[in-house]
Amino acid sequence: MGSGHQGFLRDCARAISEKDSSKIHHLLWMLNELASPYGDCDQKLAFYFLQALFCKATESGQRCYKTLTSVAEKSHSFDSARKLILKFQEVSPWTTFGHVASNGAILEALEGESKLHIIDISNTLCTQWPTLLEALATRNDETPHLKLTVVVTASLVRSVMTEISQRMEKFARLMGVPFEFRVISGLNHLGELTKEGLGVQEDEAIAVNCIGALRRVEVEQRATVIQMFQSLHPRVVTVVEEEGDFSSSRNDFVKCFEECLRFCTLYFEMLEESFVPTSNERLMLERECSRSIVRVLACEDDIGGGDCERRERGSQWSERLKEAFTPFGFSEDVVDDVKALLKRYRAGWSLVLAQGDNSGIYLAWKEEPVVWASAWKP
């Protein structure tokens, strides 16, 4: 942090906010000279943030975002998505942290129930569930029946859900877990979900699993969505989000920019240290992040599509969730499991418990909290 490039980036953001044309031009030109998506971290960040700044300055954010998304969709397939997510999970606990914590809470909250219904609102391609299925199969004498309803919001994920469902069903059979799988996609807004729409039955024990999904809800609609969760009468709600605040500063471009830069710098550095230099997967993840950057910095909020990307910190989400739920602490066993998980990765990762009024646990990368995981009950 704090390299020459970042200084230019910030100056440019300020110039845009002040509408200082000549300065904007000058800085954009400078950044263009320095930036490269194939260089080191600084150069990459410069490149992707330059893209967003340019879009902001020229008010072409929405068009750019749509183009970037459509390009990504074209090169996207089940194989590529699977390879990407599994590789990422192999080299970094960024996503597996949330999976392990959530599965632990879900298993504990639904212990003893014979009919489980997990409503998975995420874009994790169901990579969270094999270990849960295995746990259900081996933990108890009586293996419960599991119904998994996946609510997909990202278009990239939607296209591969057929294959995913096949794999999940086969795997559940392999594990000997009676299993039912359903995908819900095409929603405009999570708030549209209903008990009936989700197929919630009276005799089911419900768990709502929300991984990186709340940030994709438009800020003004987040309270509604949480109320919708409440209406499902779940035994447990697990929420995992990345620790950044692109929400409270959304009307202050420079402030939002700074926070975005801070977060993405951590993310890019983490990616660089986790993958091999020639990794194609890392490149894909960087590009995915860059789409978020354009979306947050250069697009109007209400363009729809269920991909708002305005992250909030754990403490902010907690405030919202406390309106409808109470914290369900992670047990010692779950915390131990998460710690054991982190040990299996390279050094640099640690678990931090939330302090004071806050609840949940944080995944920290070099002492910086980057992912927040929490569990809630009615």
Binding site: L86, T138, E142, T143, T162, S165, Q166, R173, K343
Partner: protein, 455 residues
């Protein structure tokens, strides 16, 4: 037979009835005590006391009866006080003092004092010992020690050839691996073909011995390979146990171990490729080639995959196909499972764990959906080619047949699931190996030659 008398509710419906062959007398399994035995209920305090055995001469206390006896000899007792009293002849079994525990009831008492102590400690005691590497906690120090030795040394190998050092990533990979997709496709393909009553075709699929299919299937579920530390001295023995055969198994295995190492690269780039295809020499196939895996499947109707040349050719590929064919049997088995049928993959996987510890425990085979094997034999359906004289497997058929009958005898024995979390071998044996169902060390890829035999 005493075994029948004391088999408990869990397996009662599977004992005797459908089994026409005479049962062999087997050693009682943990928790199925001899009804003649004396049931002893100790309080937790007494149970955990370290010096239960007191010398009547000097009052000194000892942890074990053997120690006490050794000590007593030192008193130079002049007459038969040295000898065991007749009371000793009567076997003792112990119940667990924890009221909510299954072993609290005399019918599920354990025969070994050390065993019940360990059980009580493990299940109901405080877990004071913690593994540094994986944070797993243990109540019994010896369990913790045993675990620490092997923690992190295991490797998990997927059918596709990729090796993992982490179990969780192995599980996740397995769920998405193409090898899984193909296996089930082949199962479906086979079942459809069989349903079409194409007699000859049966042998191509079913020639694989039951044991190897079981073994293979479990290898495809999360067994680790033999780790460097695994003193498997007897991988052969274990595998042959799985295969339900005697020396036959050994020959087959030894012929094939070299092949295993050639299967599949380790690099991740191969994960999603299909190593099977790349190394197979597809022989001509008799089967329809119009199968379209992707399209035929829907989330409601995964059962309806029809056949394809692709998996079938792989079946015939000696080197690699075995990875899939054997699972044919077991997956077929699963696809007919109803949720209420509790001897499903769950129990099977759990048995696999016990395999690791009790290598000669034949009960494993008995637990493996034996009901279905029996039914199928009796029904004379597609599987009977496996057991009958027309099995192409070189001599395997008859071996399997006899071992199957043996297996049926074991059907009634009580099986103990070993849980992943509170995992303990309830009879006190096995130490760290049965911590989870990965306890089986064998990578039973060792059966390509069995296919060799009948192709």
């Amino acid at each position: 037979m005493t075994e029948e008398v004391i088999s408990n509710g869990l397996t009662q419906n599977s004992s005797g009835g459908s089994n026409p062959t005479p049962m062999k007398k087997k050693r009682n399994l943990p928790g199925n005590p001899d009804p003649e035995a004396e049931v002893i209920a100790l309080s937790p305090k007494t149970l955990m006391a370290t010096n239960r055995f007191l010398c009547e001469i000097c009052g000194k206390g000892f942890q074990r009866d053997q120690n006490l006896q050794l000590h007593r000899r030192g008193h130079n007792l002049p007459w038969k006080l040295k000898q065991r009293t007749s009371k000793e002849v009567r076997k003792r079994v112990y119940v667990c003092p924890e009221k909510t525990c299954v072993h609290n009831h005399p019918s599920r008492a354990l025969g070994d004092l050390t065993g019940i102590k360990k059980h009580f400690c493990r299940k109901h005691g405080e877990k004071k010992w913690k593994c540094e590497k994986c944070s797993k906690r243990y109540a019994v120090q010896s369990d913790w020690k045993a675990h620490s030795k092997t923690c992190g040394t295991r490797e998990y190998k997927c059918d596709c050839g990729t090796i993992f050092s982490r179990r969780d990533s192995f599980i996740t990979h397995r769920a998405f691996c193409d090898a899984l997709a193909e296996e089930t496709a082949r199962v479906k393909a086979a079942s459809n073909i069989n349903n079409a009553a194409a007699g000859n075709i049966n042998y191509h699929f079913m020639g694989a011995p039951v044991g190897s299919s079981m073994a293979q299937h479990f290898s495809s579920i999360f067994k680790p390979t033999i780790s460097a530390n695994d003193d498997s001295g007897d991988p052969m023995r274990r595998l042959s146990l799985w295969m339900g055969q005697g020396s036959q198994g050994h020959d087959l295995i030894s012929n094939n171990l070299p092949e295993i190492h050639q299967i599949g690269p380790v690099s991740s780039s191969a994960i999603y490729g299909d190593p099977l295809v790349s190394s197979s020499n597809p022989p001509p196939s008799n089967y329809p080639s119009n199968w379209d895996f992707g399209n035929k499947l829907s989330s409601n109707n995964v059962e309806e995959i029809t056949s394809t040349t692709h998996p079938l050719t792989n079946v015939k590929d000696v080197g690699n196909q075995v990875l899939s064919v054997p699972s044919l049997f077991s997956t077929q088995h699963y696809s007919h499972q109803t949720p209420s049928s509790n001897m499903s993959a769950t129990a099977l996987l759990q048995k696999a764990a016990e395999m690791g510890a009790t290598t000669t425990d034949p009960s494993f085979l008995g637990s493996f959906g034996l009901k279905n094997i029996n039914n199928q034999i009796q029904d004379g359906n597609k599987y009977c080619g496996l057991y009958g004289a027309n099995s192409i497997a070189s001599g395997l058929g008859s071996d399997v047949e006899s071992s199957v009958h043996d297996l049926s005898a074991l059907n009634q024995f009580q099986m103990y699931p070993s849980k992943r979390r509170h995992i303990q071998n309830e009879d006190g044996t096995g130490g760290g190996q049965t911590r989870d169902f990965l306890g089986v060390g064998i990578q039973s890829i060792c059966h390509p030659s069995s296919i060799n035999g009948w192709i």
